[in-house]
């Protein structure tokens, strides 16, 4: 193979031009003839019995095609049995109807749906539906969920425990008993949402002649949606095509999984014989899209007088909401040890159902909480021993010669948590240099003397990414001599059409502009997993690479026949295949495609040994997760009077293995930092004691704008992963992970004269004011 020409280069994105000129196709932009519009009636209560749903007035309203409540919907319950990666454990879940018949379990739960000729008419009728409720006591925190005699979210389960998982490494009890120093803390992490700028949404069309569905769904997981619909409708999966539109307006986790609306809208399309569209509005995103992050951790570390960690005990409650996934708290429990060598670990969590909206994964998926917990403990250990926070970290880092490093836990991919590669000491060294750590420490005292409260924070993390089970790629040479790459996972802004073109162009040996990329269409690649967990490049990347190598062989073999030359003597250049050293002896890729995909003529036999069909498919399944690593360092000032935090310098060091496109990776990091900074300083999904969301608009739920975001400096290390032929790991979430920890550390450092203890975020002005005043 010749060296890569495109992989590793900062190729600008081919997606951009259509997005910049308003020519993109998001799901709400699809103009499907005959389409009608759905609007959902949603519960105003966190927990209530449904006594009566009166749709009579709504059904009679103009432009209304259907009004459907739970009893009208003949679909089996949504019960997605996902095995637990940890043997002997499970996610306990009750069957859930897409539209409930008995009771509602969170504010915003869909109770009924109206289909109208326009969204306006559908919403008119929605407001004419009367639902009578009998109030039930809500469960608004995981602690309330495990309290004695707590109300039951799911009566069938008998309690509110969704999962209880314990993992142990070494002998933590003995290590704690013998340790010279032990510190204990409680950490509380609050809820946040995904807040992609485009909400969820889908259009479903049913074709009665073929008994088949086409569903355009702004989902991160088209194959999972297709498979679930096949079960719900009792149809073979081949007759359901789910397409994630090429343009999806961000995902960040909540567009993964399967929601009630994704069952109801296709059902309506079949029942009505009309295409049906539903587009989530922002209020619905606030109350019905998955959120994440609420956890309460009881953490203890044991260490010696030199600041060497001896043992870790971390026990936490996780708010699963009305429904959720097992893997998010499991990821938290595995991510706590991070880059540190800890031989004795006790990690334990209980995931608890509450009458709050569903949870799932939000950028980071359990990892930001873990990083917050561990890095706060590292700061506390430094303080306890009177050591520099950077120094205590350095003393505990896993060294470059220790890879592969077995943490001793089972990770969420069911494989042992074995770190594949990395260089954590170099991350730390370089970050301290880039942030001018010594300089910052030196000026801190002088500034404080002048009444300026400056703090420095550092946080590291190791992030399990790129795990399976697999992704797939189908590749062909079409009649115009273009390489068409279909890849199973859909993008939500990550630039797949560019990056996969880079991989394919190198693998086949063609120009970048000769490659077309199709993403997230179950008809193009029959099997796939989806875009989440920073996993696509380590799965679909190698699949595209493998398919490209096979396609190249096929092209050269057919061209060899046409040119009467050995394939090994051929080269591909500028859309033609020629004999090396004899550029006049050449055929175009169009001619090769004609021979391979059409034949020499109708009814003409192909010569022996020439394989027809310039198409190949390839799947790649990594043996385990790869482990990216990163460090964030920040210098900030806190105004103890106004409570305002001003970031002075912010540095990110990141190692996700081989960089396929540095421009795109850096963009992923910068966006992740913005999300993390938002968690650190601004956003919080607040609920009152009745389970009512109190921050359900952008007036109350604050996201940072360009004015609030600091300039962020990013540097990369490249420790290739041995787990796939590209050496790639994953980068989508990394930017988010250490931010809350780094910012909390820096704010606590800045406010040391006030002896503040920061064990939770967001650190908004009122919170900082409370801390300064000892509340």
């Amino acid at each position: 193979m010749s060296p890569p020409r495109f992989v590793g280069a900062p190729v600008t994105r081919r997606e951009d031009a259509r997005l910049l000129t308003g020519r993109a196709t998001f799901v709400d932009d699809l103009n499907i003839p005959g389409v009608v519009h759905a609007a959902f009636v949603r519960s105003p209560h966190a927990h209530a019995r449904i006594k009566r749903v009166d749709v009579s007035r709504a059904r009679a309203m103009p432009g209304v095609l259907a009004v459907i409540a739970g009893h009208d919907l003949d679909l089996p319950p949504l019960l997605l049995r996902m095995g637990s990666p940890i043997p002997g454990t499970e996610l306990r879940a009750a069957p859930r109807l897409a539209l409930p018949r008995d009771k509602v379990r969170h504010v915003g739960e869909a109770v009924a749906v109206v289909v109208g000729e326009s969204r306006y008419l559908a919403e008119d009728a929605r407001d004419a539906i009367v639902v009578e409720y009998e109030m039930l006591p809500p469960v608004v925190s995981p602690a309330a969920g495990v309290a004695p005699n707590a109300p039951l979210v799911w009566d069938e389960l008998g309690d509110n425990i969704a999962a209880h998982i314990v993992q142990r490494v070494g002998d933590p009890d003995a290590a704690f008993a013998a340790a010279p120093h032990v510190l204990r803390e409680t950490f509380r992490i609050v809820r946040g949402g995904g807040h992609s700028m485009e909400g969820r949404g889908l259009v479903a069309r049913y074709d009665g002649t073929l008994d088949s569905f086409t569903v355009w769904d702004a989902t991160q997981m088209p194959h999972a949606v297709r498979n679930t619909l096949a079960i719900l409708f009792g149809m073979p999966e081949d007759r359901i095509r789910v397409i994630s539109p090429p343009d999806i307006g961000g995902g960040f986790g909540p567009k993964g999984g399967f929601y009630p609306e994704e069952a109801v809208v296709p059902w309506l399309a079949r029942a009505l014989g009309r295409p049906v569209k539903w587009i989530e509005d922002r209020h619905e995103h606030f109350t019905s899209a998955a959120q994440e992050r609420v956890q309460v951790h009881e953490t203890a570390i044991a260490f010696d007088g030199d600041g060497k960690l001896l043992a870790l005990r971390n026990v936490f409650l996780h708010d699963t909401g009305v429904s959720g996934i097992l893997v998010t708290p499991l990821i938290t429990s595995c991510t706590v040890p991070g880059p540190y060598r800890i031989r004795n670990i006790h990690t334990e969590f209980r995931a608890v159902y509450t009458t709050l909206q569903p949870t799932g994964a939000v950028r980071g998926a359990g990892r930001p909480q873990a990083t917050f917990v561990m890095e706060r403990m590292m700061d506390r250990m430094a303080e306890h021993l009177g050591l520099d926070p950077a120094e205590v970290r350095a003393r505990n880092l896993i060294q470059p010669d220790e890879f592969p490093y077995d943490v001793g836990l089972i990770f969420r991919d069911s494989a042992r948590q074995v770190y594949d590669s990395g260089n954590y000491p170099e991350l730390l060294r370089r970050a301290l240099e880039e942030i001018d750590y010594r300089g910052a420490r030196a000026e801190q005292g002088a500034l404080r003397a002048r009444g300026r409260y400056r703090g420095i924070g550092i946080a590291l993390c190791v992030e399990g990414v790129g795990f399976g089970p697999f992704e797939g790629a189908v590749m062909r040479l079409n009649a115009r001599g273009r390489v068409v790459v279909s890849e199973s996972a859909p993008p939500q802004g990550q630039g797949y059409q560019t990056t996969f073109a880079q991989i394919a162009a190198d693998a086949v040996g063609v120009r970048l502009e000769d490659v077309d990329v199709v993403t997230g269409d179950t008809a193009a690649v029959p099997f796939g997993t989806g875009s989440f967990a920073s996993r696509v490049m380590a799965n679909a990347g190698p699949a595209v690479l493998q398919a490209g190598r096979v396609l190249r062989e096929r092209i050269l073999s057919l061209a060899g026949f046409l040119l009467e030359a050995a394939p090994a003597d051929l080269e591909i250049e500028d859309g033609r295949v020629h004999v090396r050293g004899a550029p006049m002896r050449s055929v175009s890729l169009v001619e090769v495609a004609r021979l391979g995909n059409v034949g020499r003529g109708f009814g003409f036999s192909l010569p022996a040994g020439v394989q027809p069909g310039l198409e190949t498919s390839s799947y790649f399944a990594p043996p385990q997760a790869g482990y990216s690593s990163s460090i964030h360092a920040c210098v900030l000032d806190v105004d103890p009077v106004t409570g305002v935090v001003e970031i002075v310098r912010y540095v990110v060091g990141h190692d996700c293995g081989t960089l396929l496109n540095p421009l795109i990776v850096e963009g992923q990091i910068l966006g992740g930092v913005a999300h993390g900074l938002s968690n650190a300083l601004y956003e919080e999904a607040v609920f009152d004691e009745g389970g009512q969301p109190l921050a359900a608009s952008y007036l109350d739920y604050v996201l940072p704008s360009a004015r609030e975001m600091p300039r962020v400096r990013v540097f990369h290390l490249e420790s290739p992963s041995p787990l796939n032929p590209l050496g790639v790991k994953g980068a989508g979430e990394a930017g988010t992970l250490p931010v809350t920890a780094a910012v909390a550390g820096a704010v606590e450092d800045a406010l040391r004269p006030f002896r503040v203890r920061i064990n939770s975020v967001p650190l908004n002005p009122s919170r900082i004011s409370d801390l300064v005043h000892g509340q």
Partner: protein
């Protein structure tokens, strides 16, 4: 209850007539009636800025106006900036160069705000660029790429948004 009105609007230089429900939003007029789907709806309560267009030259939230309110107005949307995707404006080209967009959902509104802002202040510094963008939410980029794109555009002296 569906009262209608006839309106006439100049959109991207072209006069267009429509009979609209009085409650139709300006954003839906553009997206549904005129099929100009480059203008996006992110929050429908006037905070995210994705639906920003130029109304008689000023950047406005099209989700907060009714179609009947723009009768007789001159409107510019993202579709009116460049003739086609192969001929980007200099500012759009800098967005490509500096990775100023990811999912691109918020981008059209941002371009329209910048069109007005750079007309009024053709040589903003970084603080002024960030101030100009402060009425927009982007969840993908952290804004740094788009800030760099605007600064490069200003530096290269192409001036204004074109």
């Amino acid at each position: 209850m569906t009262l209608t009105r006839a309106i006439r609007v100049r959109v991207n230089g072209q006069l267009r007539d429509a009979i609209v429900d009085v409650r139709l939003t300006f954003a839906d007029l553009l997206r549904a009636t005129f099929q100009l789907t480059g203008t996006h709806l992110g929050c429908e309560h006037g905070v995210c800025g994705a639906c920003t267009v130029l109304l008689d030259g000023e950047a406005v939230r099209s989700c907060l106006l009714l179609a009947v309110q723009v009768d007789g107005a001159d409107v510019q949307t993202v579709e009116g900036l460049a003739p086609d995707p192969d001929h980007l404006t200099p500012l759009q080209a800098q967005f490509v160069e500096h990775h100023g967009l990811q999912c691109g959902f918020c981008t059209p509104g941002i371009l329209m705000t910048l069109t007005a802002a750079l007309r009024d202040n053709p040589h903003p510094d970084e603080t002024e660029v960030r101030e100009a963008l402060a009425g927009h939410l982007c969840r993908c980029t952290g804004y740094q790429g788009m800030v760099d794109a605007v600064l490069a555009h200003v530096r290269h002296g192409t001036g204004g948004a074109r």
